[in-house]
């Protein structure tokens, strides 16, 4: 039995499914379609579940202009994602100084100001196997801070954080049930945060 093409499909594809299947976004031939759709799936997750903004897919390295091992994402989280323990000490000291400087009548709370920073995101699937070699290749292809895009020109004068001395990516691992976990990976020996 043949179905006329006008008939609606029995189940409407979800927005995510149609996004991933969008041929316009997949038209770039630099990487396998599976890696592209993985990046798009995580972009969707970051944008709608974690309220990230300024998300972009990078297929080529901003350092060497060679194709990256796989498409990476960059974006701006709603809050600061990572504070180095030494920076945290300094921020706390500053906040304490400001609290003491305020008049006694004002609210007496410690306000730590840490502006959000743009982050690299490395999309992976849980079923994949990785090696140190591949991880090193990813780090070799990226800059310390993701490049600014023309569309986000308004915030160009954001000061560079002097504590951000080592490359880092957010390792996003997605399982087959579309659960995503996020881990911060630093390039080098970086002491842990004291949460």
């Amino acid at each position: 039995m043949t179905r006329p093409g006008l008939l609606k499909p029995a189940v409407q594809p979800s927005p995510l499914q149609s996004l991933v299947a969008d041929s316009n976004l997949l038209s770039k031939q630099s990487h396998l379609p599976s890696l592209h759709s993985l990046a798009l799936q995580l972009q969707h997750n970051l944008q709608y579940q974690h309220s990230w903004t300024d998300l972009h897919v990078h297929t080529h390295s901003p350092v060497t202009n060679e194709p990256l091992p796989r498409p990476l994402l960059s974006g701006l989280p709603p809050q600061r994602l990572y504070i180095h323990p030494d920076e945290q000490i300094e921020l706390l000291k500053n906040a304490d100084r400001e609290r003491k400087a305020r008049k006694a009548g004002d609210k007496d709370t410690l306000e730590v100001k840490a502006e959000p920073e743009r982050e690299w995101v490395l999309p992976t699937r849980l079923s994949e196997k990785w090696t140190l070699h591949r991880l090193a290749d990813v780090f070799n292809g990226i800059s310390k801070i993701p490049p600014e895009h023309a569309s986000s020109g308004a915030e160009e004068e954001r000061a560079v954080n002097p504590w951000r001395t080592k490359k880092r990516v957010v390792l996003a691992t997605v399982d087959t049930d579309s659960t995503v976990v996020y881990y911060i990976v630093h390039d080098g020996v970086v002491k842990p945060r004291q949460n």
Partner: protein, 311 residues
């Protein structure tokens, strides 16, 4: 840091016995810890009553990695201790043996004397705190006066009422001092220290060795990582003073690992305020400047620290 009590001449011997790398000399142990960031694990305990606690004694067992780092940097050498002992003891002359035994007796007597003096001191201090007597040892000749004193005080002390005979006039004859039996922890002397010519080759090490060497060269201390399911738990300073910073696992450059291991290690590490560290030797890279002390053969090591992102 307190000054070194007894300097150790490098290279110092590491005993290789039944596949283990052991240090028996307390000075070498503290030297390795102080100057080379090598902790090892103290394993001295009662035979068949081994227990897991922090009160174990010498010998100190070194991981093969620790022994190898010490040997590669020229701080130590490996000795086949069984052979060295058999050879040394068989070649020892009768005179030397007697001399050594006499020396042990002398040390034992000295030790026993020290113990008795300490005991007397303690007793005297305790008595003085109770206000009973002053210098006990000196007053054996003035016994009558002292006993009067003692009685005078004892009236106020119900405990001593029943025993007014504390008078030392009934002086116990001084016991003949028995020398303590000393068990030396090292056998050099009497044996002359084994020569470095007979040193064994470098210890064979697991594939995590490059990461260990790299962390050690950067001043980190490493302890066995079994408790956290990794190769090493890595401390930024002496483990007695610091909490560990990293759970380190060493891998080959092209060895495949599951992402689940990264997630598990990262989550566990963050849960205990540590970072999960993976690293290995990059065979293609040229030696970097920070590795110069290991010689040209050592390839640079690349490490990645993993923490939970928190969202």
């Amino acid at each position: 840091m307190a000054p070194d009590p007894t300097p150790v001449t490098e290279p110092f011997p590491i005993s290789h016995i039944a596949g283990r790398y052991l240090l028996f000399d307390i000075n070498a142990i503290s030297h390795a810890r102080r100057h080379h960031n090598i902790c090892g694990v103290l394993i001295g305990t009662l035979p068949n009553l081994s227990q897991q606690n922090v009160f174990l004694g010498i010998p100190l067992e070194l991981m093969p990695e620790e022994a190898r780092v010490l040997v590669e940097r020229g701080h130590a050498y490996i000795v086949d201790d069984v052979r060295a002992h058999r050879k040394g003891c068989l070649e020892m002359s009768r005179d030397e043996r007697l001399k050594y035994l006499r020396e042990m007796d002398r040390q034992g007597l000295e030790f026993a004397k020290g113990v008795r003096e300490k005991a007397e001191e303690r007793a005297e201090r305790a008595l003085r705190e109770k206000g009973l007597v002053g210098r006990r040892g000196k007053e054996e000749s003035e016994a009558p006066q002292e006993s009067a004193d003692a009685e005078g005080v004892s009236t106020s002390n119900s405990l001593l009422d029943s025993t007014p005979s504390t008078s030392p006039s009934v002086a116990v004859p001084e016991k003949k001092l028995e020398p303590h039996f000393i068990t030396p922890t090292t056998s050099y002397p009497p044996l002359s220290p084994p020569s470095t010519d007979a040193a064994l080759p470098l210890p064979s090490v697991p594939k995590s060795y490059p990461l260990f060497r790299y962390l050690n060269s950067r001043g980190y201390f490493a302890m066995p990582g079994l408790r956290f399911g990794c190769n090493y738990s890595v401390y930024p300073g002496d483990p007695l003073r610091f909490h560990s910073h990293f759970l380190a696992t060493g891998l080959d450059w092209d060895e495949e690992f599951e992402l689940l291991d990264i997630v598990g290690g990262g989550r566990l590490g963050t849960g205990v305020k540590k970072a999960y560290l993976i690293g290995g030797e990059d065979p293609e890279a040229t030696p970097a400047e920070e590795e110069e002390q290991d010689g040209a053969s050592a390839k640079p090591v690349r490490a990645f620290s993993i923490e939970w992102a928190g969202f």
